[in-house]
């Protein structure tokens, strides 16, 4: 009789599985068609902490090289020299090789102003490797110098606010809330 019991068990368990599958005809689909049929851009739905392609706000970059030192794969190259006359740091070069970057986020953690930060942009495909090298400094710029009090320049204040909000999301060492 084992033969018929085998058949019966097989048919019964397959129908049990199939009933689960059929019940999914009645359920709402979980998937969306990317990229054409999404109601809003995927980039806008991503969480605040999402680590996408790196971006630098040069307006608030202090040229401290903390990010360059923190990067484990040296994909950030910064050239900052001190101007002998004005005693200010001048950024000659700020390159990030997006092709090398592994999006670990170690660079944005030590940044004092939140200048270097991850965006929610993730579509970085391109036709050539050279264009993956993001050059942020077009012409030499004077590095940002943090002020004692709150930032007064109306052009820079919102950028700094964004930067500090980004930084505040990181856990602070030993700090008690």
């Amino acid at each position: 009789m084992g033969y018929f019991r085998n058949i019966q068990e097989t048919v019964a368990t397959i129908f049990e599985g199939m009933s689960v599958t059929f019940s999914h005809f009645m359920r709402r689909p979980y998937t969306v068609q990317y990229p054409d049929r999404v109601p809003i851009r995927i980039q806008d739905t991503l969480p605040f902490r999402y680590r996408g392609i790196l971006e630098v706000d040069l307006e608030i970059c202090t040229g401290c090289l903390a990010c360059e030192r923190a990067c484990p794969i040296d994909c950030i190259v910064i050239e900052a020299v001190k101007d002998q006359q004005t005693k200010a740091m001048v950024l000659n070069r700020f390159d990030i090789d997006i092709a090398k970057c592994m999006y670990c986020g170690l660079c944005s953690e030590p940044c004092p102003t939140g200048s270097i930060h991850h965006t929610s942009e993730f579509e970085g495909a391109d036709y050539s490797l050279e264009s993956m090298l993001r050059r942020f400094v077009k012409a030499p710029v004077v590095a940002y110098k943090p002020k004692k009090g709150p930032e007064t320049d109306p052009d820079i204040a919102p950028i700094l606010d964004r930067g500090m909000a980004y930084l505040n999301d990181f856990a602070s060492a030993g700090g008690d809330e």
Partner: protein
């Protein structure tokens, strides 16, 4: 051992010439879960031996540690086992903390446990899903991956990445739990737990599925210990050993959970089905741990004060964490400088590879897929 130089045995039953065939399975094979190659000596459909040939995914991660320093190595630990990266993060953080004698805040330990257990569920889902797919049932895979996607979303909220988390830091974690995250995680558990039973109805007790897995590649408890199997593979053979329970670390002693072991419910203890079922049951246990952890997250800071130039005193340390693939050992020798002198990672997949040759003898060729899937091998973890 020369891998290509097998003697060809010629047998002539009834004057008909037959010979054993040496086949390559992999390195590029959809069911080997990465780049893993087997040299199979087959007599018709029956395997005489199947020798795993590892090393295709070697990235010298241990050597990289000597180059990038303690803080910089954390993202690399994600790549040791990309399916369950959180326990690897934790292993590296713990071994560095042990070297330097750093106390981790309690809230950080809770964050770590929550992240690790979510990641364990995700890893086991991928394992049981691809197990179905490997032996020919495609639907369970989509079901498992659907749930895994929700975990990925949760972890993405938590640490900004879906696979290579880089969530933990030496002395704690990089980000606190986001606001409104705990209720979201509890809502996920509420939805997920009944789905395990649905999953069982869908495939686990399907007759064809059971026939493919029950009594295949039976590993006795002694063999499992002899061959150094760890994690669900060891527990599938009926050995009740879990690092979280027997050598407790972090805050695991505070939680109540069971260690599921193989019971041989449809075949023999230690067969492929038992290893599969241990993973299903472990997901339930992980849900239990998560519920307790999410309900009791203490207040406080999540990161201890650790200098950016991290220089642990000279010495060595070894820690064991229970990764999704079992007991994962992290050994680090420090010479007092900014860079580790030597790092060694002991992974469960590597030892599981060594027993494949033994259990595959005499099995059908198609069963090798079931065996490999039941061990839940992750190729990057074998080679590092």
């Amino acid at each position: 051992m020369s891998l290509g130089g097998y003697d060809v045995e010629v047998q002539r039953p009834g004057g008909l010439a037959t010979e054993e065939m040496t086949l390559n399975m992999g390195p590029q094979h959809p069911s080997t879960h990465g780049v893993l190659r087997f040299i199979v000596k087959a007599d018709g459909e029956v395997m005489r031996e199947a020798i795993p040939d590892v090393g295709y995914l070697h990235r010298s991660i241990e050597k990289i540690a000597e180059k990038v320093g303690y803080h910089g190595f954390m993202p690399y630990t994600d790549r040791v086992d990309y399916v369950a990266a959180m326990p690897c993060n934790q292993g590296w953080a713990m071994v560095s903390e042990k070297l330097a004698g750093i106390e981790v805040p309690r809230r950080a330990e809770y964050c770590r446990v929550i992240a690790c257990e979510l990641n364990r569920i995700a890893s086991h889902l991928l394992s049981v899903g691809s197990m179905g797919m490997d032996i020919g049932a495609y639907t369970p895979f989509t079901h498992a991956l659907r749930e895994r996607e929700y975990i990925n979303d949760l972890l993405e909220d938590l640490c900004g990445a879906r696979l290579t988390f880089n969530y933990m830091r030496i002395g704690g974690v990089a980000w606190d739990l986001p606001p409104e995250w705990v209720p979201k995680a509890v809502a996920f558990l509420d939805r997920f737990e009944p789905l395990i039973d649905e999953y069982n109805a869908l495939i686990s007790y399907n007759k064809i599925y059971v026939e493919r897995l029950a009594n295949v590649a039976v590993i006795t408890a002694e063999e499992a210990i002899d061959y150094n199997l760890v994690g669900p593979n060891l527990r599938g053979s009926g050995v009740k050993f879990d690092v979280r329970k027997d050598l407790p670390y972090s805050v695991y002693p505070e939680f109540e959970f069971d260690v599921p072991i193989g019971s041989g419910e449809v075949g023999t203890v230690g067969d492929c089905f038992d290893r599969y079922m241990v993973r299903i049951n472990e997901m339930k246990e992980s849900c239990r741990i998560l519920r307790q952890a999410l309900a009791g997250v203490p207040e406080g800071s999540v990161l201890a004060k650790v200098p950016r130039k991290f220089k642990p005193p000279a010495g060595d340390a070894y820690v064991r964490v229970e990764s999704a693939r079992g007991d994962m050992g992290w050994y680090c020798v420090s010479d007092g400088s900014e860079y580790p002198h030597r790092v060694k990672i002991r992974t469960g997949s590597f030892t599981a590879t060594s027993i494949i040759d033994k259990v595959s003898r005499g099995l059908m060729l198609a069963d090798l897929i079931a065996v490999v899937a039941s061990f839940d091998l992750v190729a990057p973890e074998i080679d590092r």
